[in-house]
């Protein structure tokens, strides 16, 4: 047998199917990687495995019933998802939300941002390859937060606690001390993560200069949230178009410089520190008062021919609700603008040319929740 000369040696790209059952696709995401050795040459994302038609369901449910479905579109930050929905209804029904309810909402949303970011840190740490430790650290802290949510709303993930006009019921009497107690453990958890990952050489080697996306590309692709801010775009809806009482709160928006995976990690970690400070400021201003408007109709009906697009800064970016009303007690059309869907579009741009292992952590760094992507 004659050995062929080198130029005739043919190589073939390998197609790998990652997901929908894969340990690090964060749910049922599927991507088809075309790899040349270890380098990703092409990436085809497939989504839709978790599509439940939340928008259609909401069109057939009244405004109180819809809150429950919003929880399920964003199960890691349900308070933030509910917030957009109830704010959209309030904007159309022109309901004035009592002050106390607003402060409590802000506290809960920021707490939920903490718990969601903890989940990111844990899952991301595991993607990078630490065996389970970040996951357990994340769960340790998230457990404290979730216990608090359970004491307030009764459920651990699907709170169904915000209502158009205010809150479903009053928070328990020891709310403030419990929040402060949780913040102490949260600080400890953030410190643990910082010590475990931020300066670890292997972690830095894995995450620095990986999956870079420029600010222009990020804006062009409609990315939002920490993923966008890591690229150096200072766009935070809490600052640019303040809702609730964010304009009365003093906080900063951490932004990254490189737009790489490490920046997306560190921006989230810094953002958590800001969240803690926001919660503390909110607690100081929390005062007694009603939690629902005084004149609240038993069955909420919206005026005809109105529409609103409400956007709030959820942990993963802009969570928008586009609500069209044609009268009656049900929305005519409800569109959930998912931050993850837009962020996920950038995956291909970030991953092509990187290593297979990088594609995994880039996916992890976007912090997708598939229920929000598919809705």
């Amino acid at each position: 047998m004659v050995i062929e000369s080198a130029p005739d040696f043919e190589t073939q790209d390998l197609l790998i199917n990652v997901g929908p059952q894969h340990p690090s696709t964060h749910g049922v995401f599927r991507m088809i990687l075309e790899v040349d050795g270890e380098i990703v040459k092409d990436l085809i994302p497939h989504i839709g495995y978790l599509h439940r038609g939340a928008e259609k369901l909401c069109e057939n449910n009244d405004f109180r019933q819809g809150v429950g479905y919003m929880d399920r579109t964003e199960y890691l930050a349900s308070h933030n998802a509910e917030l957009s929905y109830v704010m959209a209804v309030e904007a159309l029904a022109e309901l004035e939300v009592p002050e106390r309810a607003q402060w409590i909402r802000m506290i809960l949303c920021e707490l939920n941002r903490l718990s969601s970011h903890f989940m990111f840190l844990g899952a991301f740490g595991v993607d990078v390859g630490v065996f389970g430790t970040p996951f357990i650290y994340a769960w340790r802290e998230r457990e404290a937060l979730i216990d608090l949510f359970e004491e307030i709303s009764g459920d651990r993930m699907m709170y169904a606690y915000f209502r158009a006009g205010g809150l479903a019921w009053e928070v328990p009497g020891n709310f403030e001390e419990r929040v402060r107690e949780v913040l102490v453990s949260t600080r400890q958890g953030m410190k643990d993560f910082d010590n475990l990952l931020t300066r670890n050489e292997i972690f830095l080697a894995r995450t620095k200069n990986v999956g870079i996306i420029s600010a222009e590309d990020a804006i062009e692709l409609g990315m939002s949230g920490p993923t966008l801010r890591a690229s150096g775009v200072s766009l935070d809806i809490r600052k640019s178009e303040p809702y609730m009482y964010y304009d009365q709160i003093d906080f900063e928006v951490p932004i990254g410089t490189n737009g790489d995976v490490f920046d997306r990690y560190i921006v989230r970690l810094k953002e958590m520190e800001q969240s803690v400070s926001i919660i503390e400021q909110c607690l100081e201003r929390l005062n007694d008062g009603p939690i629902m408007p005084e004149r609240m109709p038993r069955m909420l009906r919206l005026p005809e021919g109105q529409e609103v697009y409400i956007r709030t800064e959820a942990p993963r970016g802009e969570y928008g609700i586009y609500l069209v009303s044609k009268g009656g007690n049900k929305p005519w059309r409800l569109k959930v603008r998912s931050a993850c869907l837009s962020n996920l579009q950038a995956l291909k741009k970030m991953s092509v040319g990187q290593y297979v292992a990088d594609a995994i952590i880039i996916l992890g760094s976007i912090d997708i929740v598939l229920s929000e992507v598919d809705r």
Binding site: I47, G48, H51, G53, E55, K56, E59, N60, A91, L92, I219, E220, L221, G222, V233, L235, S240, E241, Q306, E307, V308, Y309, I310, R311, E318, G320, Y322, V324, W332, R333, K335, R337, L341, S342, L344, Q345, D374, R375
Partner: protein
């Protein structure tokens, strides 16, 4: 505007109120009107943002102007979706945001029921890619020249029915979950 003037003559107290409601001078409308002077635009006051109706033939050109024009720079496509108005056709809705100027704009295009085609906004923003794919499969809208016209959330072969149209039935949960899933044990047969 003529109807407003009629109202003006009737009651003085109502005048000021209605004038405030219907005048769009406090919004970004004058700016948009100037920028889109070459396009036929109908403004409307929304709850938060300004809503503009743009005819289908001009839409992509108008969006390109909105993105590129110095004074507005709508460089960020917040959301792209559609609303089914049954007999009045389908509205395609673009929510635009300008990061440098911090202004929002809602652009609406009405498509007739029998011809749901429109140009693709992916030429303007890459972000429109998946949003248009989703809108297309949910409402049966064809986006001409879309770079990747596959389905996004729906199965690949589900191109004949469009779930978010009002004519699509809201299936009873029983039908979806099926009789064989345990609700009707008698009919389950010997499959176990």
């Amino acid at each position: 505007m003529t109807s407003d003037e009629n109202v003006n003559n009737t009651n003085e107290e109502e005048v000021s109120e209605i004038a405030v409601v219907d005048s769009l001078d406090d919004t970004i409308w004058p700016l948009i009107n100037r920028v889109l002077s070459s396009v036929d635009v109908t403004p409307e006051r929304g709850s938060i943002d300004l809503i503009t109706q743009i005819p289908r033939s001009d839409i992509i050109r108008a969006l390109q102007i909105l993105k590129d024009h110095e004074e507005v720079q709508f460089n960020y496509l917040r959301c792209l979706t559609a609303v089914d108005n049954e007999s009045e056709g389908v509205d395609v809705v673009y929510h635009l945001y300008s990061i440098p100027k911090n202004i929002n704009l809602t652009v609406k295009v009405n498509l007739p029921v029998d011809d749901k085609t429109i140009g693709t906004a992916t030429e303007v923003w890459e972000a429109a890619n998946w949003l248009e794919r989703e809108t297309a499969e949910m409402f049966g809208i064809t986006f001409n020249n879309h770079p990747d016209p596959r389905t996004l959330l729906m199965p690949e072969d589900m191109t004949d029915t469009f779930p978010l149209l009002k004519s699509h039935p809201f299936a009873e949960i029983e039908i979806l979950q099926g009789e064989l899933l345990g609700y009707d044990r008698e009919n389950q047969g010997d499959d176990e």
